[in-house]
Amino acid sequence: MQDFIEINFGPQHPSTHGVLRLKAKLDGEIVKEIEPVIGYLHRNAEKLCEMTFYADNLVYFDRMDYVASMLMESGYLEAAEKILNIVPPERVLWIRVIMNELSRIASHLVWAGAFGLDLGMLTPFFYCFAERDKVLEVFTEICGSRQETNYMSIGGVYQDITPGIVDHIEAFLESFPKRLEEIYKIFVGNDVFISRNKGIGVMSREVAIDYGVTGPMLRASGVNYDVRKAEPYLVYDKLNFEVPVSYKGDNLARFLVRFEEMRQSVHILKQAIRKIPDGPFFNPKAKKSMMIRLRGDGEYYARTESSKGEFGVYIVADGGVKPYRVHVRSPTFKNLSVVQELAKDQMIADMVAILGSVDLVFGEVDR
């Protein structure tokens, strides 16, 4: 008869990236069983969305995946604009692509820094955040807010992108790849880092699909599936980029896929910033005084590729000024559910690394 140590990780624990509680049964150092308990950040966003105007709902979507709020906004607007029958002008689509990719870079940088902290590397965190701050400077310049941007509006964006901002983004794109490679080398140039991640938390392709895992985690398990390619939205079909895939399925593969994604994002940005057409930056049908009068009908499910995976927004409208039902398919919610499979019979240290590699953001898991 074996005795297990029962231990509660969290809800406030440095490795859980927020408010996750893990009920773990330990046999010495080995995790025999874990049960994630979520809901510590359940902020009833879906209920509140039913009580708020279409235009104002962006406030709640901003705060879902709070490290990549632009991606959330464009994901919501993909659905909301179809519900409201408003088509944004061409220029807006390009601006949104630029913002999406900048946001993706910021999100992955936060992840990389936090992943380093999980493994005990203190320094890369600061380099990642210094780079992220440069992205946020662009956001501040373009819309006036660092993190919860509330930049995109129905049928357009709130403020136009100016030549000065384009220069700023170009300067960032000039300096960023070099810094990215440096950060990359700090990680992979380290023997211990490789040994902590190679072959740890291996997720097979079948398990990944069965659990509904998407995004970089799925691609690291060898599935070439990216919503930007599979069902192009905005203007992703006019841009030239590659989807990074790895067949290893371990922590290291997820790390490499995310870094490659950042490089691809830079590649996309470089194209988009040159191709951005002239024109209005919002649809006059959705002008500002109409914000509280827009009515929608039908139901629509839009999926977009957020930095964590497939982000879906399902809106049911009943002809009123407020949505009837909003449901969010949050990628992290599903990616987290696979952790109890991956972390079984692993060491505590590996469990922490696996949790880190999932890229958890609780605003999105609990909503």
Binding site: N8, I38, G39, H42, N44, E46, K47, K82, I83, V207, I209, D210, Y211, G212, V223, Y225, A230, E231, G298, E299, Y300, Y301, A302, R303, E310, G312, Y314, V316, Y324, R325, H327, R329, F333, K334, S337, D366
Partner: protein, 154 residues
């Protein structure tokens, strides 16, 4: 939205094929879909239509990149569980049970996922009363319980 019991597809606003399936035939139909290669259950959601609840399943075949929507309706809030087909349904169904009050028959661990077990009502139902505030506190074992008593919890 009319309930079409024949299982014949129609198309929604988003251009995706919608199958309206009877609740009793759902599990059988889903088995057929899984065999057809729809290996990724993307989401399960419930829509409270006041007199009945609509349960929406989004299925996705990753290899072929095909996407279909399966809809079923229920009056008493009981729907067969699909956890035997897709593991991702485990948490999705718990979430829908928690917030929408749909009971999935055959789910082995149908507990609330976000709110404590003793929470009264299902918040995403249209008849949920927001004015009746509930509070949560933690007992000595570290488990939560919900209460209407303002002095007990937060």
């Amino acid at each position: 939205m009319t309930a079409d019991d024949s299982g014949q597809p129609n198309r929604g606003k988003d251009g995706r094929t919608i199958f309206n399936v009877d609740r009793d035939k759902l599990l059988e139909f889903m088995k057929g879909m899984k065999e057809k290669g729809y290996d990724h259950l993307s989401l399960i959601t419930g829509v409270d239509r006041k007199d009945f609840i609509e349960v929406v399943y989004h299925l996705h075949a990753v290899e072929r990149n095909e996407y279909v929507v399966v809809k079923t309706t229920t009056n008493n809030g009981v729907v067969p569980s699909v956890t035997s087909l897709w593991s991702s349904a485990k948490w999705e169904e718990r979430e829908q049970y928690d917030l929408m009050g749909i009971k999935f028959e055959g789910h082995e661990n149908l507990k609330r996922i976000f709110l404590p077990e003793s929470w009264v009502g299902h918040p995403l139902r249209k008849d949920y009363d927001l004015g009746n505030v509930q509070y949560i506190n933690m007992d000595s074992d570290g488990e939560d319980y919900a209460t209407f008593d303002e002095g007990d919890g937060w």
